[in-house]
Symmetry: D2
């Protein structure tokens, strides 16, 4: 893929913009002052909408739903989740094949074999695959089998990985760091964008605070703030954001009302038997109800003001 080139002016250097504007290959010239320059609304006012093909879009103008299990476990499991998504007209499926686990003795995922099967089954049903990439060497390996690369909360500042994803022609969904600021999330997006990949999605997924009644503290303040600071789509993960199954649905609805462009959540046929994160995973009945409610809430949001 041919990379776009950006001229990014840092600091106080004096440059004659007109001379640059006449160079071959230059499409556009801008002067911006923030640290995150290319992802800033000051540089590009119009919201970015990503086209994933087959009529699937992420960005303003539609509500993107991304659902699926924490971990890809088996063909049978994928079959059931895919059917559930088809039944509810959800076009994006999430599911991890490389699992970053804080203990070295936990289940670590099905790896590339699982991903290949996941991709094949999803594609056959017109569903897009969103899955986490954990290191530079996986970027090329996974490339043909993912529709959206996900960067997890522990890798938001893995700058080598961000650099590698800057050279890829597939969308990248970047999760906010476990204790990452909004500024840092924007800087991470800038890494990828300045590398040439403009297809970015930002994801609020809860931050670490002193509160222990929930797994994380879902920071919905970040939604309107990000929507004003950047032209990129902003989605919310309420499953990790609160971490308690019974409360995922109200937080998802609240996120849409705060302005989110999409919701990423965990669902599984039998959450009690999930290989990971079962305590925050919806069963299909809960998931179907949530999807219906999310669409009604999004419909109302468009009518307000």
């Amino acid at each position: 893929t041919q990379r776009a080139s950006y001229l990014v002016g840092i600091g106080k250097a004096e440059v004659d913009l007109r001379a640059i504007g006449q160079l071959p290959g230059i499409r556009d010239i801008h002067q911006v002052s923030d640290d995150y320059q290319l992802v800033s609304r000051k540089w590009r006012v119009k919201p970015t909408v990503l086209d994933l093909g087959d009529g699937v879009y992420i960005g303003e103008g539609s509500l993107s739903l991304v659902a699926g299990p924490c971990s890809i476990e088996s063909e049978e499991q994928m079959e059931k989740v895919l059917q559930h998504l088809l039944d509810n007209n959800v076009r994006l499926m999430r599911g991890g094949v490389f699992k970053p686990r804080s203990s070295p003795y936990s289940f670590r995922g099905l790896g590339m074999e699982g991903l290949k099967q996941f991709h094949q089954m999803a594609r056959a049903r017109g569903i897009k695959v969103v899955t986490e990439v954990m290191q530079v060497s996986q970027v090329e390996e996974m490339h043909d089998y993912v529709d959206v690369f996900q960067v997890g909360a522990r890798n938001t500042q893995n700058f080598n990985l961000l650099d590698a994803l800057g050279g890829v022609d597939k969308p990248v969904l970047i999760k906010r760091g476990i204790s990452g600021t909004i500024e840092e999330l924007l800087s991470s997006a800038e890494y990828v964008f300045s590398g040439g990949n403009e297809k970015l999605i930002l994801c609020e997924r809860g931050i670490r605070t002193f509160e222990t009644a929930s797994r994380n503290t879902l920071d919905l303040n970040a939604v309107p703030i990000l929507k004003e600071k950047t032209h990129l789509p902003v989605v919310v993960d309420p499953s990790h954001g609160i971490g308690i199954r019974d409360y995922v649905a109200p937080m998802a609805l609240a996120a849409v009302m705060a302005g989110a462009d999409g919701i990423l959540y965990e669902t599984h046929e039998k959450p009690e038997e999930a290989a990971s994160d079962g305590q925050q995973t919806l069963n299909f009945e809960e998931s179907a109800r949530l999807i219906q409610n999310l669409r009604r809430v999004y419909g109302l949001r468009k009518e307000l003001v």
Copy 2:
């Protein structure tokens, strides 16, 4: 006022409940195990709804809106705010007369004289007064001029004040501490409740975290968690929760969708000229639009299952 008496069983002591049940004056007997016992849903399943008179209620079944300036500044200011509330059918007005300010050199409020005038003007218009009490000695002094005592985020664990409010026959709205846990908020409510005052409202108003892009981090996770743990009404203050005027409205709408029973926010005819907190205060046009939107969102929430 005659205080109710509660028997609260702490620890593992063996008691014959039947014998207690026959004592004169005992209405009811319960055994609960949490630290917050009387405010727990395990003790009282039915949600508490407070009746403030004149058809004003706080609790499940209606959406309570509490609006007004950070500080009561003048008769003219109050006149304008009260008219704005009447125009929009809002029945509860907030406004501080004792201002806890972190610098000793800032405006500290109009005091009791301001409160008396506030109360008189509000009552003449059928509007209820919600205002902050800062110390024990003010409880009696303020009593006849408030409809709801507010306990601020710096006093959530002022146990002497909570004790004093336990003996009062007016509702108490307790704000979550600046770095207070959900458990601590419930314990503070338990202080007042166990003192005999069951008329309590809990308020999420944002917590202190590492994030500096917003004044506080509004923890909407707290809404569904509190609604399940306690029978008391739960309201949200998005003005302090995010602290930036442009984002107050989306956070208010999100709070309702998360399950809040009411919204407490700051409004002023000219926020730019407010004596305090102008940066997070809505003007009347913004406030009117928010009220209308909040009611539509609440209407939809009731329709969802």
Copy 3:
């Protein structure tokens, strides 16, 4: 008591300082720009040393040790603690008589009767009493029976209490708030100082963070920062700062090496039987060893450049 008067210039008003300097009663004139003005080193370069009488000082030039139980429990208990302090030449005893407890069902202290007895017994042995005042009404009541008023971490921003202590002629030890910034601690000190009471001590006691392996996170960074920003003495409370008995001693020694002017810690004859905070309380053997070590570490610190 006759209050001193301070002229504090806030904002940009133009004033002819020479004219003010000639007014009767004016001792000194300064222009400073921080929010905390009177407590700033920019206003007073020389470190403040408090003279409590009987040869007891707090401030640079000596290491102040303040030891004793969390709660005053009985005459026998006080007798034993006082003897322990005498044996080790410690001249300041801490002990609470009003206990702020997060649950309304916990032990709340012996109150004024306990304080009077505590004071009498301590004075008979030449030992100074440091105890917590929790509300405005207690200031006058407690005045004659305390040598140092302590403001607890939940009252650091109880501005009414700070105002009241500004009019008192006894030293005030202000603990940093549970989630209080260093700036806020200095502003709280400014409240008292600007009210006329210059006898202040600041205390780092740990802040609330996401870490749960310790009760609080002792922020020793605050010690050198406070020592540069203010002329007031800075002491550290390692008992609350880490909250685990075995680790109190190393943290106390570290605090001295970071530059603390004193250490406040909990000791009890039988920590296992203490009415409160036993898990972070040293027995007399541990306390005696700590005192000896603290003095050696302080001795070395004075030798270093």
Copy 4:
């Protein structure tokens, strides 16, 4: 390198330990219950001391000093730092060649060429090289040119990197995550240890909190807690821990008194001209004074009981 094999029993499975003990190659059998098993003091009581050759050790029994610039910048710079270390008998030099920077437009280090030169110059002077590895592909590449691999605070939970370092025969210094708990640091160490590399050093470097007066909040509580929980050496980085040049020295001294086995700090001939982190870097005069003082403090610590 031949990897050691560990049998780690997870969960409740019943196993006949005697049968396992007779298998060829089994040196030792243990049953422990924590998540971090191999790094726990319950498994190995004796403190681990790492032997880096040439008489350089890290662990209990000596104070390890690791000093040097944030970034390796030039041959001249390295020459001067190495001479400074030789003059002060410091045997470990730190310096980054791959710089993880939050903005994509900042200096990113000299890379492998810089490392090779750094290593050659250091070895010629008998000084050991401590430098950060940022991704799996660098592990092999860097292997011959480092004496200690450093895992940075943004990679503490980069489990692929930890896995790769588990197969290496060089020591690994793991920094605590920016908002990492003590438990998580131990789990990260367990990753490397369970992969076969027992040569580990843990490093407290400050955590992210609400306090903004310092760059991070140095959590010295972590020192005694880690020293009790694990047999691994524990060092402290006061440069990142407070982030302000004037306060690095007192925090370093405090860390030693809290029980640290070593100190890692930044020094540069002209901190004002450093390519990164100059605001927290000591010049050689300050560094020499600190080294001298650290040794005196460590000497006293050994004398205390």
